[in-house]
Symmetry: C2
Subunit: 454 residues, 2 copies
Amino acid sequence: MTEKVVIIGGGAAGPKTAAKLRREKEDIDIDLYTQEDIISYSACGLPYFIENIIQDIDTLIVRTPEDFEKQNIHIHLKQRCIKVNTDEKTVLMLDLNTNTEYTVEYDFLVIATGAIPVMPDIKNINLKNIFTLRTIQDGINIKQKMFQSQNAVLIGGGYISIELLEALVHNNLHVTLIEKEKQILKMFDEDFAERIRDYIIGRNPGQVSILTNENVIDFQGNDKGEVTKVITESGKEIIADFVILGTGVRPNTDFLQGSDIKLGVKNSIRVGNTLRTSKCGIYAAGDCVDNYNLVTNKYTWVPMGSTANKEGRCAAINIAGGSCTFDGILNSTITKYFNLTISIIGISYKEALSYGFQPEFAIVTKRDKAGYMPDSGMMTLKLIADRNTHAILGIQGIGEGDVTKRVNTVIPAILSKTKLETFMNLDLPYSPPYSPAIDPVLNAAQIIYQKING
Amino acid sequence: MTEKVVIIGGGAAGPKTAAKLRREKEDIDIDLYTQEDIISYSACGLPYFIENIIQDIDTLIVRTPEDFEKQNIHIHLKQRCIKVNTDEKTVLMLDLNTNTEYTVEYDFLVIATGAIPVMPDIKNINLKNIFTLRTIQDGINIKQKMFQSQNAVLIGGGYISIELLEALVHNNLHVTLIEKEKQILKMFDEDFAERIRDYIIGRNPGQVSILTNENVIDFQGNDKGEVTKVITESGKEIIADFVILGTGVRPNTDFLQGSDIKLGVKNSIRVGNTLRTSKCGIYAAGDCVDNYNLVTNKYTWVPMGSTANKEGRCAAINIAGGSCTFDGILNSTITKYFNLTISIIGISYKEALSYGFQPEFAIVTKRDKAGYMPDSGMMTLKLIADRNTHAILGIQGIGEGDVTKRVNTVIPAILSKTKLETFMNLDLPYSPPYSPAIDPVLNAAQIIYQKING
């Protein structure tokens, strides 16, 4: 009898699992269920759709249900999983069109239900024009409203808010970003968060406000039930034609409460490096699973489209009978604010301290090319290494220069625990249009090494 | 008595050694001798000076003799070393101003005499307007001639010729590049050399000719003794207002013939990983020393400004009594031809075969960003790994997209012998403006891994 694979979730990991599994194995039934009315799209592209750098929303669609059908993969839209019965090997589904429940059997189950926004505890949060950004429809709604608006408020100071800030500033809105912690982008050390904040404010003085240490406690609306003002605990009242909540996401795993599938950090699904859950035959991938951090050797939860794709691919290979391991992550993230690249890899200095390392750091501000090349750009790197082992623990990079090459160069070195003294003499290719004779990232390693031995 | 350090050579390694040594140690005499009338300049920037992207030659000067004098480093211009007497710890110098010889004593000697052009065996090579490009004066002479010319011939198909080709094409000259081997850029596999050639020809059809398998045997001149034609073995006659010889360089070590300092590949100076030569108290750094290749574990000779800087720094630390090792290189090189980035790291497929590896490869042509980002660029990567060990051996990359980030990402992985199966799931930071969800360099690793296990 042909084996039956049921995949729950239509974001990145589910469709990737389905597509890869079909390439690996022809004689297997693949059914993918999603509660949305669309599948296989790049949620990470939504800020650029809103910004209107991308005009056509369809360009964010990786594959349509018809594309999948051609590969003999059956897509079931608007179907929500409400329970997994691991003993009977069935899932209880809810048809959102008809509101009726039904049962589906599986030999292999792949849970790829992603993440959902965390709704903060703020009064009147159900007013109109208070958005979250997770789905295609969210993106369409926000963009439509943006074109009719002058004032927007972003709540939360994470990457998504920075990307939306660019989108809104680019479209000439006045924007206030409100963060309840003392810094935006809390994964960064405070000095770097401050530099980023200064860049943002300095680029459009008067158009952008960033409030930190501010807690939003209330929204006020008009008689149409539309938000008009955002009220903070300290008494600030900010005019808003609309609000976007960037207050974080959490694993979409509520339907697993009471099941015997082991959960991990923040109720994400605990998977081993084969992407198998605690139950035989059940795999999970993407934003709903936890991640092993290869620097701290602790489990963490970092939802990320690139990880979701790798995990989906890996789960598919294993379901097909092959062998693939996904050992973990390095908390690598990147975004941009207009020309400013913003990236952090591994752990920050403050995290390194909290994890019991004995960190040392170097900050270098240098040009990305030979100084005499007319189009060189500046960048600032902060490299962190451990005094005991000389291993590199992380890097933070910001700048209009080519930051991304430097942070990428560090990644395999973090993974393989390359020592500073080896890394600082790394043979990076040199030519004036690409770097100074000694690359800034190597300078940073030299400086830490001298600090440690000095 | 204060120790006396004598440095021979004023390019990159010599000045770097002097500057770093002074920072490490105050109570030491430092004297630097060079046969040129200028020191501490970026020879790698000369093609961009000729192209006129850089107008002022002084911007290529890193430090002037006056800068050094302020640091109590004494610069002696137009002084050539003609012999080293290791028993007496002296060098015999020739003053090029007065043509008189004299002797200088040292406690530490640093040889950093760089490389000099190889002059090919071609008739009438002493005609006027046949240039090599090594010194600042060469750059000034070529640029001056370029502005008065319409037709130029470049002999040799290495990086320097590609960079000069850009310079000349940008200034509207008709250029013929002649290479005696069957491909340009011989460090690349033939398929990649062919792609690069196609790009160059396709960018300016009719303006650029590239002749391979052509041997130049003769130059013809006018009655002023100026070159007018280049004659090849196959009978081609190419009109030339000037010619630039890019037929390679060799270590500038003729003055060491007969000394007891051990020489290595191509008569470069053999140094260990401390940059010490076979003789106690004598160090060498830069283009005149050989290099240990960390992929093949064989000595090689790859002159490179970045290596020269690292070696000079390392030699200085060791002379000052510290401890620094420079373990070797990965043959990392990069250049550009207008918007096309051209890079190779480690070894090519053909080299891998010749060194007894069992290489497998993958070629991927992909966009450098998410496909829906409007400013994404294409690139082609060729990744090479060993079937036995799964270690990555090298990467070749070309494209208008961001090639340089991808090749750099591979470098620490080559060094640490990271296996394909680990590398292919590397946590590279993802965001649509910076890469597709799975980076092309990881795709390439996935493909090789599947080829090996398939």
